[in-house]
C-alpha cells in the first residue's frame, strides 16, 4: 500500500497540485451540475406545468367571456330590432279607415312615434293595393294621400305575405346605415313601413366593453360595417369581408344561430380573439373582439414572471451548487494533497480538515493510518538495530565461550602434555597413564566443542530438517520434554531462514524454561495450518509478566521471528507457566532457493 502510493506520487510530485486541480475541478463541476440539474428540473417542471395550466384555464375563461359578450351584443341589437317592430305595431291601428280623418289621425300618431324614437326617420302607410296613403318624415315633408305606387317594393310584398319584413341594410347618402321594417296590418288592411337608422345601435354596442381595447361590431351579409362603437368607421363605409373571421362567418351563413371563437385579425392586421353571432332578422354578424396582446396580457405577464423567477432561481441554484460543491470538493482536495505528501514519505504530516462530517472522519482515519505506519516503521528500525546488537552479543558469547570454556581445557591439555614430557624423562612408567588421561581430556574437549557448535547451528538441522533437529536437541536435555507434531511434517523442509528461526525459537524457549523458569517439564508442538507453520513451546515453570519482560532474550526472539515474516505471541503469568506461540510463513525450501532466479529453467535437484 505504502509502496504503491509512493510509486504513484513520486513521478509527478512536481505537478501534484496541477493534477489534483484538474481532477478537483471536474468533480467540482460535476457536483455543481448535478445539484443544479436536480434542483432546477423540479422547479422548472413545476413552473412549466403551472404556466401551461394557467395558460389553458385563462384562455378558456377568456373564450367563455368573449362568447358571453358576443351574446350580450347580439341580444342588445336583437332587442333594438324587436323594439322597432313593437314601435311599428304601436302605430299600426288596423281598424283606422283610410279616409282624410283617419289619415290625419294616423299622421299624428306617426309624428309622435318619430318624436319618441329618434332612430326612425320615416313611417309610411300603404293601402292594400300598395299605394302610399301617408308618409311622415322626420326631415322631409309629410305627405298625405300621394297615391304613389309602392306595391313593387319588397317591403310591401314580403310584409303582405309574411306579416313582417326586415330589409337589407343600405346607406343613406352613401354614409349612414339604415334598414326598412314593415308589418302587415292584416289581410287586405295594408302595410306600415318604416325607415330606421342603425347608427343608434353603435351607441348600444359602445357600452359593451371588452377589456381596454376590445370592442363589438356588426357587419351585414356583404361584410359592410354596420355597427361599431366608432360611428366614424361605419359612416366611412368600411368593408371588412377581407378579415379572415368575417370571411369565415359570411361563407358559413347557412347556419341559423352559432357561435364560434377564433383568432382573427383587425383592420390594422393585429391578431384578435374574436367571437361571432348571427342576428336573424337583419342578417347581421356580430363580432366581439379583443386584441390578443391585451387578452393574453395577464397570461404573458404571468409567463414572463415565471420565466424571470426561473432564471433568478436558476442563478441562485448555480450559486448554491457552486458553494456546496466547493464545500465538498475543498476538503477532498485537502485529503488528496495530504495523501500525496504522506505517499511521498512525509509520515509526520497531519491532514487538517474541520468539516465535522464524514470527510473529517476520513481525514482522521488517514492521520491514524499514518501514525500507525510511522510507529511500525520506527519498530522496524528498532528491530533492525536490535538484530545488529544481537549479532554482536552472539559474537561476544562465542568469543566468551571459546575463552572461558574451550581455552582452559586446551590450556589444561597443554599442561598435561608438558607433564607427560617431564614424566618421559624422570619416570616413564607414569607416562602411559598421563597420556591416557590426555586422550580422555581431548575427547572430552571435542565433545564440548561439538556440543557448543550444535548450539550455534546444529548440523542435523541442515541435514534432516526441523523436526529431527528439535528431537536431537531434546535428547540432550535431561528434563522431561515432549515433542508433538503431525507425522506428515517429519522430513518436510522449509526455507533455511524459516527452519533456523523456528529452531532458534525452540532452542531459546527450552533454554529459558530450564535455566530461568525452573520448569520440570516442557512441551514443543509443531504443526501446519494452511500456509502457516505454527510452533509452540510451553512449560510449567514459574512464568513471568510479558509486559515487564524487557529482557533482551525475549525481544531478540520476537525480532528474529518477525525478521522472517512471522509473528510471536507470548502468554505467560506468574505461577502459570509460559507459552510461546509463533507463526511462520511456510515458505518452501525449493521455492525459496529458486525464487531469485525465477526466470531460469528449474535446476535439477
Amino acid at each position: 500500500m505504502l509502496s504503491i502510493g509512493r510509486k504513484a506520487a513520486t513521478p509527478r510530485r512536481g505537478d501534484t497540485r496541477q493534477g489534483g486541480g484538474v481532477r478537483g475541478r471536474s468533480m467540482f463541476r460535476k457536483y455543481a451540475a448535478v445539484f443544479v440539474v436536480v434542483v432546477r428540473s423540479g422547479v422548472a417542471a413545476s413552473g412549466f406545468v403551472h404556466s401551461y395550466f394557467s395558460y389553458r384555464d385563462n384562455k378558456e375563461a377568456l373564450i367563455r367571456l368573449q362568447r358571453e359578450k358576443a351574446t350580450a351584443a347580439a341580444d342588445s341589437i336583437q332587442q333594438f330590432v324587436q323594439q322597432l317592430e313593437d314601435d311599428l305595431k304601436s302605430v299600426a291601428m288596423p281598424g283606422l279607415p283610410a279616409d282624410r280623418q283617419g289619415l290625419t289621425r294616423r299622421r299624428e300618431e306617426d309624428r309622435e312615434l318619430l318624436h319618441r324614437v329618434p332612430a326612425i326617420a320615416e313611417v309610411s302607410y300603404l293601402d292594400p293595393s300598395g299605394r302610399e296613403q301617408l308618409r311622415v318624415s322626420r326631415l322631409g315633408l309629410d305627405v298625405i294621400g300621394s297615391g304613389m305606387d309602392r306595391s313593387k317594393e319588397p317591403s310591401f310584398q314580403q310584409a303582405t305575405s309574411n306579416e313582417l319584413y326586415f330589409g337589407p341594410v343600405s346607406f343613406k347618402e352613401e354614409s349612414e346605415p339604415y334598414t326598412t321594417v314593415a308589418i302587415s296590418l292584416g289581410p287586405q288592411s295594408g302595410v306600415v313601413s318604416a325607415q330606421a337608422s342603425l347608427k343608434f345601435i353603435s351607441d348600444l354596442v359602445r357600452s359593451i366593453s371588452v377589456g381596454q381595447a376590445g370592442y363589438a361590431y356588426a357587419v351585414d351579409s356583404r361584410g359592410e360595417l354596420i355597427i361599431h362603437r366608432d360611428l366614424s368607421a361605419v359612416l366611412r363605409r368600411t368593408n371588412l369581408s377581407s378579415l379572415p373571421q368575417v370571411r369565415a362567418a359570411l361563407t358559413a351563413a347557412s347556419r341559423n344561430d352559432r357561435m364560434q371563437v377564433t383568432v382573427g385579425r383587425d383592420p390594422e392586421g393585429r391578431r384578435v380573439l374574436t367571437a361571432e353571432r348571427l342576428i336573424g332578422p337583419l342578417g347581421l354578424h356580430v363580432f366581439v373582439e379583443q386584441p390578443l396582446s391585451e387578452a393574453y396580457a395577464s397570461l404573458y405577464s404571468s409567463i414572463l414572471r415565471n420565466a424571470l423567477l426561473l432564471i433568478g432561481s436558476l442563478l441562485l441554484a448555480v450559486l448554491t451548487g457552486l458553494l456546496l460543491a466547493r464545500r465538498m470538493v475543498g476538503p477532498i482536495r485537502g485529503l488528496e494533497a495530504g495523501a500525496a505528501r504522506i505517499g511521498s514519505g512525509e509520515l509526520d504530516h497531519q491532514i487538517q480538515i474541520r468539516t465535522g462530517d464524514e470527510l473529517e472522519a476520513l481525514a482522521d482515519a488517514f492521520n491514524q493510518m499514518t501514525a500507525r505506519l510511522r510507529r511500525s516503521y520506527e519498530e522496524v528500525e528498532a528491530s533492525r538495530a536490535r538484530l545488529v546488537l544481537a549479532g554482536d552479543a552472539e559474537r561476544r558469547r562465542i568469543e566468551h565461550d571459546i575463552h572461558d570454556g574451550i581455552r582452559p581445557g586446551i590450556v589444561a591439555l597443554t599442561a598435561k602434555a608438558g607433564l607427560a614430557r617431564q614424566q618421559l624423562r624422570r619416570s616413564p612408567q607414569l607416562v602411559e597413564a598421563t597420556l591416557l588421561e590426555l586422550q580422555q581430556d581431548i575427547r572430552k574437549i571435542l565433545e564440548d566443542l561439538r556440543e557448543w557448535a550444535h548450539g550455534i547451528h546444529p548440523s542435523v538441522l541442515s541435514d534432516h530438517g526441523l523436526i529431527e533437529a528439535i528431537e536431537a536437541r531434546i535428547e540432550r536435555i535431561p528434563s522431561n520434554v515432549v515433542i508433538q507434531t503431525d507425522p506428515g511434517l517429519r522430513g518436510a523442509r522449509y526455507a533455511d531462514e524459516i527452519e533456523v528461526a523456528a529452531f532458534y525459537l525452540v532452542f531459546e524457549g527450552l533454554a529459558n524454561a530450564l535455566k530461568h523458569a525452573q520448569a520440570s517439564s516442557a512441551r514443543v508442538t509443531v504443526r501446519r495450518r494452511d500456509s502457516q507453520l505454527i510452533v509452540e513451546v510451553s512449560d510449567d515453570g514459574i512464568g513471568f509478566d510479558p509486559s515487564l519482560a524487557a529482557g533482551s532474550g525475549i525481544r531478540n526472539l520476537g525480532d528474529r521471528v518477525e525478521a522472517v515474516g512471522g509473528k510471536l505471541r507470548i502468554d505467560s503469568q506468574f505461577g502459570a507457566g509460559t507459552k510461546l506461540f509463533a507463526e511462520f510463513p511456510a515458505r518452501d525450501r525449493e521455492i525459496a532457493h529458486r525464487d531469485p532466479d525465477a526466470l531460469r529453467p528449474p535446476a535439477s535437484p
Partner: protein, 331 residues
C-alpha cells in the same frame, strides 16, 4: 461576491419588469398631454353666441381637456364673412392646431384660408354641394364635422303651418350674398303647393334692409316670416324676432333661444347635441385622426319649440297635438 451582485441585479431587473408591466397601460381615455392644443373657434353673428359653443367646451372638458392646461381656446365672434376670412388667415398664421367653424360663413372662410390645418364645422347645411368635403363618408380634405339638414326648410315650414294652420302668405327673407339662399328658396317654392303656402320673397342684406322690409309688411298681406338664409339667421335673428313681435307677425326661427325671446316657432337642430358631437371630432383629430378619413355625421337630434305667449298675443290657438310634439313650450 461578483455572482451575488449579478443575482441582485437580475432580481432588481425582474422587479423592474414586473413593476413596469403592472404600472403601464394607463387609461387611454386621457388626451395626449405632450402640449397645449390651441384651437381657434369662430362664428359670424354678433347678436348671439352659438349654443353649441358651451356644449363643445363642456364636451371637451368631459373628454379630459382643461382650458389653460392642455387646451387653449381662441374664440372670435365676428360681424360678417369678410371678418371671418381675415380671422381664418390669422388662425393659420398663428399656427393654431385646429379650427372650429360654427356655421357656413366661417366654414367657407376656413376652407379658403388653409388646406392643412384641420377644420371641424358644426352647423353647415350641405357641405358636399358647397364643396367643403368630397363626400360625407370620405371628406377627403382638411375639413370635416357635422351636417344639419339640407331640406330642413320645408320641414320647418310644415311645422310652422301645423302650429298656425291659418298661415298662407309667408315672407321668405333671402340674402343675395348667401349662396345657400337660392337653394332654400327653390326647395320652399317646390313644396309650396303641398304645404298650401305662398312664399313672398324679400332680399335683405343689412339691418336697414330688414327694418325696411318689416316696416312694409302688413298683417293681412303677410301671415308669417321665415328666413331663407343662414347668414341672416346668425347675424340678425335677435333683430328679426323683435321686429316680428312688434309687427304681430308669427316668426319661424331655427333655434329655441329665439322662440324663448318671442318667435312663435323654432325648429332646428339640437345645438347642445351638435356641440357635444363637435367635441368628439376635435378629440379624435387631436388623437391623430385625419379629417379626410373622418366621415361627416348627420345630426339626428331636432329641437322644436313653441312660444304660447306669442301665440296668445297673436290670437292663435295652437293645436294640442303640436303642443304635445313640442320639445319646449314657453308659456
Amino acid at each position: 461576491m461578483r455572482r451575488r451582485g449579478g443575482v441582485q441585479r437580475l432580481a432588481a431587473l425582474a422587479l423592474a419588469i414586473v413593476a413596469l408591466s403592472v404600472g403601464c397601460g394607463g387609461s387611454p381615455s386621457t388626451p395626449p398631454r405632450a402640449k397645449v392644443w390651441r384651437i381657434g373657434l369662430f362664428h359670424v353673428g354678433l347678436d348671439h353666441v352659438p349654443a353649441s359653443l358651451a356644449s363643445l367646451e363642456n364636451g371637451l372638458r368631459s373628454l379630459g381637456y382643461e382650458p389653460g392646461k392642455n387646451v387653449e381656446f381662441d374664440w372670435r365672434n365676428l360681424p360678417n364673412e369678410e371678418a371671418a376670412r381675415a380671422t381664418a388667415v390669422q388662425f393659420v398664421r398663428s399656427h393654431v392646431d385646429l379650427i372650429v367653424a360654427f356655421e357656413n360663413q366661417t366654414a367657407r372662410a376656413a376652407k379658403a384660408a388653409t388646406s392643412k390645418v384641420p377644420v371641424v364645422f358644426l352647423h353647415v347645411i350641405d357641405p358636399v354641394r358647397d364643396g367643403l368635403v368630397e363626400s360625407l363618408s370620405h371628406p377627403g380634405g382638411n375639413l370635416t364635422g357635422l351636417v344639419g339638414y339640407g331640406d330642413l326648410a320645408t320641414k320647418q315650414l310644415q311645422t310652422f303651418k301645423d302650429v298656425d294652420p291659418s298661415l298662407r302668405r309667408v315672407m321668405a327673407l333671402a340674402d343675395p350674398s348667401d349662396p345657400v339662399s337660392p337653394r332654400l328658396l327653390h326647395e320652399v317654392n317646390a313644396a309650396a303647393s303641398t304645404l298650401k303656402i305662398e312664399p313672398v320673397e324679400r332680399e335683405v342684406s343689412t339691418k336697414a334692409d330688414i327694418e325696411r322690409v318689416f316696416g312694409s309688411a302688413e298683417t293681412g298681406r303677410v301671415d308669417g316670416v321665415f328666413v331663407a338664409s343662414q347668414n341672416l339667421q346668425t347675424k340678425f335673428s335677435s333683430l328679426m324676432v323683435h321686429l316680428a313681435l312688434e309687427r304681430h307677425l308669427p316668426f319661424l326661427s331655427h333655434w329655441s333661444k329665439w322662440a324663448k325671446e318671442g318667435a312663435l316657432v323654432s325648429f332646428g337642430p339640437d345645438f347642445t347635441a351638435v356641440g357635444e358631437a363637435g367635441a368628439r371630432y376635435v378629440d379624435e383629430i387631436i388623437r391623430g385622426a385625419k379629417p379626410a378619413q373622418l366621415p361627416v355625421e348627420q345630426m339626428s337630434w331636432l329641437q322644436f319649440a313653441i312660444n304660447l305667449k306669442t301665440a296668445r298675443t297673436l290670437g292663435l290657438s295652437v293645436p294640442a297635438s303640436m303642443l304635445e310634439l313640442a320639445d319646449v313650450v314657453y308659456r
